[in-house]
Symmetry: none
Subunit: 259 residues, 2 copies
Amino acid sequence: MLERIRVVLVGTSHPGNIGGAARAMKNMGLSRLVLVAPEDFPSSDAVARASGATDILDAAQVVETLEDALVGCTLVVGTSARDRRIPWPMLDPRECGVASCEQAAAGGEVALVFGREYAGLTNEELQRCQYHVHIPSDPDFSSLNLAAAVQVLSYEVRMAWLAAQQLPTKVAKLETTAMLNTQLATADELESFYGHLERALVAIGFLDPEKPRHLMSRLRRLYGRSDLSKLEMNILRGILTETEKAARGEHHKRGETDV
Amino acid sequence: MLERIRVVLVGTSHPGNIGGAARAMKNMGLSRLVLVAPEDFPSSDAVARASGATDILDAAQVVETLEDALVGCTLVVGTSARDRRIPWPMLDPRECGVASCEQAAAGGEVALVFGREYAGLTNEELQRCQYHVHIPSDPDFSSLNLAAAVQVLSYEVRMAWLAAQQLPTKVAKLETTAMLNTQLATADELESFYGHLERALVAIGFLDPEKPRHLMSRLRRLYGRSDLSKLEMNILRGILTETEKAARGEHHKRGETDV
């Protein structure tokens, strides 16, 4: 089950941190590492800090964009500093561990996304995440080492995983979730949907591409927390397709012919 | 209160780990570091890995024996691998965080004791601890990096400290939820929305009033579980209004006039 929880490191500068993250993951039973545009990888520094977790480094997937890293994911959680301009559904690390295990137990695919050492994730990247997680830290010295942040979240995943294994009462709930979740839309499907939604809103004149304001991020926040199933996504895509036709006047013309 | 919880590192080989431990402590609001017979300290490697937590390194107390490090302590917890010949009262990291905060809040002095990178604590050293704490890890790859272990226990101390202060760990989440919830759409507003949605879907030809099937109930289920805020509802209503205009050809005609 833990193999369905991937750690995604975006734009990592120091290969030592990649190695440290791999070691932290392996200690906690996680195995799947995805690197988005790492500055220096593979690297002997990564191997040194991995301290034996080289199998995770060897199997790490290197991709160009965050979008590529999230293909197939049904739950995407991004690490974030506390203060962000756009409020977003937040988890603390413990809730993140529980949510990740529940999703993975239900057959979903989970991504825990970590940003650059100094700059974190961009707002655009954060908006690709359904939830943000903040590791509580001293406000006067709040920036954790990247591998340390991976350690904390991986530790909470393991604590939740152990608890789920020891509490048979939870199984029924997980199975129910499984029934619902087997059909959850994936992160890449969600992205296509957002693209389609944006085009349709421009077509009907609701979204001005010159002044987009916060419209798309608000809609992302709404649909991102709704656990869209594949069926629901197909319905919404169908509505958008017909809306675009209406905006092109196709529906209107057909109406005229009918009358 | 947190100043009464000290981190004790015994016989550390690599000064980088001392720096990493100092950073992890400072991130979590701990400040008191005691080093028992470190192999190499002070060291530029420690300063580099401390990444700004040099005040903790500067104030670190260096002593010769564990006994010296534990002077004045009322609670001593030692990190331990799972299997030990002598059974001992065990805490998991979460219990360790709670016990440490309770003891410090009661005016006691707490020591969290970490052993050597490769050999851990000796049996004699472990017997100087009232409790042992084991960080749950994969039995096949169980040895955490020293700074990562300090990170996990310090994180649990902070979680317990925040809980004890009744400062929720999820301030941002509560604030976000509060912002959204004070403005939640009401049941009657939802009903108006569903009515509007249905009319718009008929207008664009996506919903056939003669054969409605399960479409509206599926959409009700989707939006019903999404906790729509008033703001989000206004956005969706705005989209529907523009969609209806497009279906009537108004947007299309306006487009033609513009051209």
